[in-house]
Symmetry: C2
DNA sequence: TGTTAGCACTCAACATCAAGGAGTGCTAAC
DNA sequence: GTTAGCACTCCTTGATGTTGAGTGCTAACA
């Protein structure tokens, strides 16, 4: 069977109505709601077809129809074609320039959650392809050095390095020059074994310390990998009974607190990124188990120079996709602007 | 009326039974449960007295009794007298020495939550009374300095300082010596206007920059105040219907995510600290609105030298106070040990 | 051939009602 | 002071009926 024009109109009407009310929608409603001028009986026949085709389903025999995952998918796809540039006015949107990346991200998550009334999460931009901008070793005391590593985007990392023997001021200065000349401007991937060997050689007798230092630098960089994710509006899930019934709330709250599983979502988004960087996971499509009853919309944002992160919105399948996608687009561009002012 | 010995026994029996079952407990149950050898009728009379005195209450006319806040308070107080040193075996307790304070705290929260099956939170130890150990200014580029401040306990803070005019290497070195000689060993409160004025004077022409630097140092220290709190096991609240019915879950989850309100709890605990550093807030006693239906047990822990933080456990009023307090005691001593190995 | 009116049917939701039972308060007897 | 007995309360549970929204099917219509 084919999804002809009339079926499409009816399907959209069913979905749109369900998004608004959250109640199963019947044939009579559609008959009045659309301007097709068809009787409820005709609509019923079409709806039976749509059900057979898997776009809608009945919670029980004598109830109206609700969209299936496949139905939502159809809706999202056609909707995204139609209004690709819908601008959404954000209430109380205040994203000031923040020194601290952490504060900025928390703020973004909060704004997104408040505007959409769904749960929001945001991952810190990966520093993966980031370049080292500045390294400094200082002596904290006889047995400890402190390494400060600054990368593009002014992400600062510290690490305390224990050392066996004391290092003279002279050597410390030498190390600093050595490290900065050799490592500045390199991305983390580019610091390979060859460079490390060369550094060790030039460090002479204190070569072993250079080893420890490089390890520490590696540590500092890896530490960033262990997903910094901020969430906001987790409690918005309680607005939607279908997410919180039957103990589902517990799982979802757990996922949002643990953040580990959110990482897989972020990962997935970053990997198969489409043109606009916005993706919609409906129900079973979601890579996260606890979100099989939700829809998840993710967007990659960019703070320039490959500093990519992900924003995610989690809500019921009957979420307001228009608004959510619009909000994410707006946020994307706001973040873009923010960086350009730099 | 007086709370005589028999009444105490009955009250305790009621509470203990209610802690186990979560159901209102009737006179017949108590008559069998205790070894008082009293008939249910006698118990009934006593229970009527206890209700009049406000220790227990009836959900409805023909139901058994449940403890009131006052009842719980009595129970907790007498219980804490009796077994002040109960040792609780912690399952899977693995607190390894962690370089990163953050990782350690998250781990503690997780261990506590898993062991007690309640929601747990932990605040980072305050660096308030902490002493400056090391300050270093470095030049990031022509217009930016980076300040690294290390305090006792190796808490590291960074701050980027924008500067109008470029500073020579020579001056930078001078500044560093100046800052370290004057500020090292001082607590944050001790850095007063007098010292700042003296520093500015000695800095000469670049005095204004010193001002900015001090401000940044202040910033770095204040930044720590904005409560680093980690939570774990928030979803444990779903184990207890009395915490999640009627939309209460939403509020609680919100509180745990926002963390701001948890701050007041932490604050309160740190302020009126008793001997053992453990406090119990039952129902209305809690300073946090959303926890008026919960009990909260908090404990201050110490990582030596005035580095005090707070651990909190949030659960239903019918929580297993014995176990919770035992767990907190154990954690307290483990953390103490951990620091001593330093 | 597509559309529609009509009708019997289904089923969740809701209200009503009775039975069961846990527990109480009170009274009178021990 | 303690206890047995009894009437009473009120939640809980399950059964029963009613309502209403919505369906599928059929036959008639354009």
């Amino acid at each position: 069977m084919e999804l002809d024009e009339r079926k499409k109109i009816i399907l959209k009407a069913v979905i749109r109505n369900y998004l608004e009310t959250g109640e199963p929608v019947g044939s009579r409603t559609i008959s009045k709601y659309t301007d097709l001028n068809l009787s409820s009986a005709t609509i019923r026949n079409e709806m039976a077809d749509l059900e057979e085709m898997g776009y809608i389903l009945q919670p029980h025999t004598s109830a109206g129809r609700i969209p299936s995952d496949k139905g939502y998918r159809f809706y999202v796809d056609t909707m995204m074609e139609e209004k690709d540039r819908e601008v959404v006015e954000l209430k109380e949107m205040l994203l000031e320039r923040q020194d601290k990346m952490e504060t900025l991200l928390k703020q973004v998550a909060k704004v997104v959650a408040q505007n959409t009334q769904y749960a929001a999460m945001i991952s810190a931009p990966s520093t993966h392809r980031n370049k080292v901008k500045f390294i400094q070793l200082s002596r904290l005391n006889a047995t400890q050095l402190i390494a400060v590593i600054v990368s593009e985007g002014n992400i600062i990392k510290n690490n305390i390095i224990p050392v066996a023997e004391e290092i003279s001021d002279e050597n410390l200065l030498k190390f600093n020059i050595l490290l900065n000349t050799h490592l500045t401007g390199l991305s983390m991937e580019e610091i390979n074994l060859g460079i490390i060997a060369a550094l060790k050689q030039q460090a002479g007798v204190h070569g072993n310390i250079i080893g420890e230092v490089i390890d520490a630098v590696g540590d500092a960089i890896k530490a960033d990998d262990d997903l910094e994710i901020y969430t906001s509006g987790t409690n918005n899930i309680f607005r939607y009974p279908e997410l919180t019934d039957n103990g589902k709330a517990s799982e979802l709250v757990g996922t949002f607190e643990e953040k580990q599983q959110l990482g897989t979502l972020i990962q997935e988004t970053l990997e198969d990124e489409a043109g606009t960087g916005i993706q919609v996971y409906i129900g079973e499509e979601s890579p996260v188990q606890s979100m099989k009853d939700c829809s998840v919309v993710t967007a990659t944002y960019e703070l320039g120079e490959g500093m990519k992160g992900t924003i995610g919105i989690v809500g019921p399948k009957r979420m307001d996709y228009d608004k959510v996608i619009g909000t994410l687009r707006t946020i994307q561009s706001k973040l873009d602007e923010l960086y350009k002012k730099d």
